[in-house]
């Protein structure tokens, strides 16, 4: 009886989370006729036309390259800046460290509209609208609160004795971070990096307002603004969506355990 209920619950949860996306995935392999058919066609004829059209006619590769560049640059720079800050917050005796962490926690809670207007004006003033460095600068600020919290948590869990011995031997703080803390905390740093990457890859609001030249837009903007007035090109949208989601699903399945660990470190403590 209990087993049956459990099996039912497993099935329900699996169906609820998987089926809607599976439906969209199947749509990406359907012909236009199969997409609009009533009753719906369950199994597509598995054509790649939609993928070809999305890449050739809608220039999907541009968006993929832009997303990859922006998300990678954001991840590398944000993790670098956050490691420095987290090291200071975890290892120096700063009585105001907790206030800085609280400020970061508070900042991570605010809706983007609270800062969107001035960020746009600032980037416009600097001439950084429609540029990689403009969007990356904004993304670093968006991802820092989370990255600093998670890394501070991970750094504090490391034993202090090795570092202490190294410092006594005349090693500088900078060397201690680079040669001892970062290698020891590598799994945690990697986890934080994956989460920042996913966040940057998925971000839409700032990308929408900062990147208005199609040549520079990222995947979420491309997919949200897919051209089509009365008849939406659903096959192509589904194909583009699948390609945009694939790297993330791969990352999630590969690093499932780490992601869960990182999210709970970030959630429980910040």
């Amino acid at each position: 009886m209990k087993k049956l209920a459990l099996a039912g619950a497993v099935f329900l949860i699996g169906a609820f989370t998987l089926l809607p996306f599976l439906w969209f995935l199947l749509t990406s392999w359907k012909s236009a006729g199969e997409i609009t058919a009533i009753p719906p066609v369950m199994l597509p004829s598995f054509r790649w036309d939609n993928y070809r059209a999305a890449i050739v006619e809608y220039g999907l590769l541009h968006y993929i390259v832009n997303s990859a560049v922006v998300a990678t640059a954001t991840t590398v720079l944000s993790i670098f800046v956050a490691s420095l800050a987290a090291f200071a917050l975890a290892r120096f005796r700063l009585h105001w460290a907790r206030y800085y962490l609280m400020l970061l926690l508070a900042l991570s809670m605010f809706p983007q509209i609270a800062i969107a207007g001035p960020v746009w004006r600032l980037l416009s003033f600097l001439g950084w609208l429609n540029s990689y460095h403009g969007i990356v600068a904004a993304y670093i600020a968006l991802s820092l609160p989370f990255a600093v919290w998670v890394l501070t948590t991970f750094f504090r869990e490391l034993p202090y004795d090795i570092e202490e011995a190294a410092l006594i031997d005349g090693c500088t703080r900078w060397q201690a971070l680079r040669l001892i803390v970062l290698p020891l905390a590598a799994p945690g740093v990697f986890t934080a990096a994956i989460l920042v990457f996913i966040q940057a890859w998925n971000e839409f609001f700032f990308a929408l307002i900062i990147l208005t030249y199609p040549a520079l837009q990222t995947l979420p903007v491309g997919i949200a603004l897919f051209p089509g007035e009365y008849t939406m090109p659903w096959g192509e949208i589904a194909a583009a969506s699948t390609l945009a989601t694939l790297p993330l699903v791969a990352l999630t399945l590969l690093f499932q355990r780490r992601i869960v660990q990182g999210l709970s470190a970030g959630a429980v403590k910040g």
């Binding site: 719906p40 207007g117 504090r156 949208i237």
Partner: protein
Amino acid sequence: MSNRQDPVWRFLLPSFLFIGVFSLYPIIESFRLSLYRMILTMPWLGAKFVGWENYWDLATDPVARGSFFTSVLFVAVTTPIEVLVGLAMALVLNESFRGRGWLRAIVLIPWAVPTVVSSQMWRFIFNDRYGLFNYLIFGSATQHYWAPLAEPGLALMAIMLADIWKTSSFAGLILLAGLQGIPGELYEAANIDGATTWQKFRHVTLPLLKPALLLALLFRTIDALKVFDLVFVMTQGGPADTTNILQFYGYKKIFAEGMIGYGSAIAVAVFAISLLLSILYLRVSGSGIIRREPAL
């Protein structure tokens, strides 16, 4: 413990710079701008200081009131459902059964899908002529088919469903971490006392899960106020402003209509609401989240 060669400010300066320039300054600037009348489509007006006038307009603007109501309704409906669905997921994933690793991975998929993608996905499912939603309700009787995203009552519900699909698993993860922190001996003791499954859930699991439940509620509430992508892709705030949540209304005023002053007042209002909610939750949960970090 800083020494002479590398003072602490060198480590903190880069983060101060980014946070200061791209987060703190913009919040203050949003507040300053909200005290001005500034309309980009009417540049001849310039920027005129009007004090609290924008806020006064906001309080009497029927669209803003509707928008406020929609946001509150959205948060009030989605967050409890998401925490409940997440709780169901966590309880199931906390059992041991074959294929648990698979289910855990599958549950993470909605979380990993970009919001814009899930928005297009649900928009397709809710299509008025060949959407799966219509087929599941009306079968092949296409003459009855609805356009849910164009129906004032239904559009918001469709967006809520899309949000629940996407974010329940995040609540589930927090709750699963909470469940795994409950010592097994408590259940053994309850078993010895002959407690039923329900009694164990009611008197052991729920009380000990309370901090995790509050945390999940807090995070979902704050995130629900940030909803933007779903509205932008699925309805653009329509039909008849019924899905025009505050964050989208602010975006429209500032970026589509160029009403910098009035839009900034909306932005500050959203900011104030999420600040209030955060403080409220932290008070209720005994600010355990902050206190947990060691003093070193």
